[in-house]
């Protein structure tokens, strides 16, 4: 199924969910409000049947810009793919979790939360996954500053030691 057809199909059920994208973009943009419903539709609709969430990528558009999440979906039955993007404001942006729809998302959402600070509403266990629980800040954000100290240990920043 082509992107345009999928767009039409989703638009027919949830007209508010879609956000217009740039010309020639190979993805669908959506608002976070309807994402849970749309995801359910994508997963269970007879024609769509996106049963695999290949990848969930958090990204940062830059300082001051919104944060985003890209979902790469794939259907093993219908053999078609889709990329969905959802962007939320930098501070306090919330996206509905799809961990119950695609279990893959459970850990990937935790990763996006860990590294970008995107909150996923309805996630069963939203904790840091790769970094220590007491880490401050979200390292993959473009405006992230390395801390000077971690648990009282100075973070080495230059290699003058061996010069």
């Amino acid at each position: 199924m082509e992107l345009a057809a999928i767009q039409t199909r989703v638009g027919a059920v949830h007209p508010d969910a879609l956000v217009p994208t740039d010309e020639g973009a190979a993805y669908l943009s959506m608002t976070p409000e309807h994402w849970a419903d749309v995801a359910q539709l994508l997963r269970s609709d007879e024609e769509l049947r996106f049963n695999v969430l290949m990848c969930l990528t958090g990204y940062d558009r830059g300082p001051g810009e919104p944060l985003g999440v890209a979902y790469n979906l794939h259907s093993m039955d219908k053999l078609h793919k889709l990329e969905v993007r959802i962007e939320v404001p930098r501070d306090g942006g919330k996206i509905p979790s799809v961990a119950q729809i695609w279990r893959t998302a459970e850990w990937h959402e935790r990763e996006a939360y860990d590294l970008f600070g995107i909150t996923f509403v309805g996630h069963p266990d939203l904790r840091r996954i790769l970094l220590p629980e007491d880490w401050e800040g979200y390292p993959l954000r473009k405006d992230y500053k390395e801390p000077d100290y971690y648990r009282g240990i100075p973070v080495p920043k230059d290699k003058r030691g061996w010069e």
Binding site: K159, R160, W162, E163
Partner: protein, 429 residues
């Protein structure tokens, strides 16, 4: 029920089959050994010659090497490195100056490919502990001068993969050959900052920063102690056994003969012989070794004149004093090392090498070579001479100045004889 018995049957057959496999390996004489008896056998490195020049280049990734004479300082490799383990600092050579033309320069002006070098590579360090062996630095090099060993010029660098070191700093390879003077000169000519001096300064600052909390922290004070300790400890150690100045033997030209003589002399001294007996024994030993020429015999005869220092006594003061001065000298020198290399040390390098073993632990480390004066037979004269020498070197004088002053002082004392004169001549070089 049949399943139960079939299970047991399957168990027996399958387990027996597995045991047959291991028995096959156990009893097979020509087994393929999965392991290597490492220090005795070595991993065979595939002989693989490809790359720039087919016969020269080997693909082994063992460690990086730089043919620094070919390096033009283009920084391509530094940029290519994903882990920033290559550090290069260059100074642009002014247009009218040719690299290598400055006095004392060890640099070549062109690479082996004939490219003119316009940059002086003042620093080229590779931290192999950080290297990720990705080989990415090798490709962009326009002069093909950085490569993994086993690469071009394989004759010069035999394939090897054992370069473990005990100290992490040993993995920081410094390839630059430019001397400090050269860097300073070129930097002056080019009108840019001398990065080596800057670096020394920065290191000094860091050292100061480390040393700063010394009064507060007790642990650091302990660390400083070894610097202060030796002058106190050393003289005591020296005087615990009878000792004789064997510097006289340094005059023997042949190295083998010298060694033989010194060995015999040391043995005799330890055994508590008088100086005449020592000379006799040395002579006997040399005769036995077939090394006794008339000249050597003369030198050995000189031994008989030298006193043997017994433990304790007035000697202690003199040696202790000398020890303190030596260390003090060494300390000041260490601080000024980078800025101005001590000419004394260089000038004395050769005689020091000969006499130092004879001093047997008498603080031979000191850069000011006081041991050379040990050949002076008279105690008073020796002490005076040593005091003057160390004083002069501390003030930055050359050995020549010191020799002059010693001469004057000894003439006053009436101790200036031929023997002393000879030693002073050696001191002057």
């Amino acid at each position: 029920m049949s399943g139960y018995f079939r299970n047991i049957g399957e168990t027996f057959t399958s387990l027996w089959d597995g045991m047959r496999v291991t028995w096959g390996h156990f009893s097979n004489k020509e087994r393929l050994n999965a392991t290597l008896q490492y220090p005795h056998e070595k991993w065979p490195i595939p002989e693989r010659h490809i790359g720039f020049v087919e016969k020269d280049y080997n693909v082994i990734r063992s460690r990086l090497h730089v043919d620094i004479d070919d390096c033009i300082g283009c920084l391509q490799c530094e940029r290519a490195c994903p882990v920033d383990c290559i550090k290069i600092e260059t100074i642009k050579v002014p247009k009218d100056v040719e690299l290598g033309s400055t006095p004392g320069s060890s640099q070549t002006s062109t690479t082996s490919n004939g490219t003119n070098k316009r940059l002086l590579v003042g620093r080229f360090t590779i931290d192999m502990a950080e290297c990720c062996y990705c080989n990415l630095c090798v490709y962009p090099c326009p002069e093909e001068c950085i490569y993994m060993v086993g690469g071009p010029n394989m004759d010069k660098h035999p394939i090897d993969y054992e370069f473990a070191v005990r100290d992490r700093n040993g993995l920081v390879y410094e390839f630059d050959t430019a001397t400090d003077e050269e860097v300073t000169q070129i930097a002056q000519l080019a009108g840019v900052a001398d990065h080596r001096a800057q670096r020394t300064e920065r290191l000094e600052q860091m050292r100061q920063a480390v040393l700063a909390p010394v009064p507060a922290a007790e642990a650091v004070t302990n660390g400083e102690e070894p610097v202060a300790a030796p002058p106190v400890a050393k003289p005591k150690k020296v005087i615990t056994e009878p000792k004789m100045d064997l510097a006289v033997l340094g005059a023997i030209g042949d190295r083998v003969t010298r060694g033989l003589a010194k060995k015999a002399a040391m043995k005799a001294v330890r055994a508590g012989r008088t100086s005449t007996e020592v000379a006799e024994q040395v002579k006997a030993a040399l005769e036995e070794g077939g090394k006794l020429t008339p000249e050597v015999a003369d030198i050995v005869a000189g031994l008989a004149k030298i006193d043997i220092q017994q433990p304790g006594g007035a000697e202690e003061v003199a040696v202790a004093e000398a020890g303190v001065e030596e260390v003090a000298g060494a300390d000041t020198e260490a601080e000024a090392k980078r800025a101005a290399p001590e000419p004394v040390a260089d000038a004395d390098a050769t005689p020091k090498k000969e006499t130092a073993p004879a001093a047997s632990g008498d603080g031979g480390k000191g850069k000011v070579d006081l041991t050379i004066l040990n050949g002076i037979g008279d105690r008073l004269a020796r002490g005076k001479a040593k005091a003057i020498l160390s004083k002069v070197t501390r003030q930055g004088g050359t050995p020549k100045d010191a020799a002059e002053q010693i001469r004057t002082a000894l003439t006053e004392l009436g101790k200036l004889d031929d023997e002393v004169e000879a030693i002073l001549a050696r001191l002057e070089g």
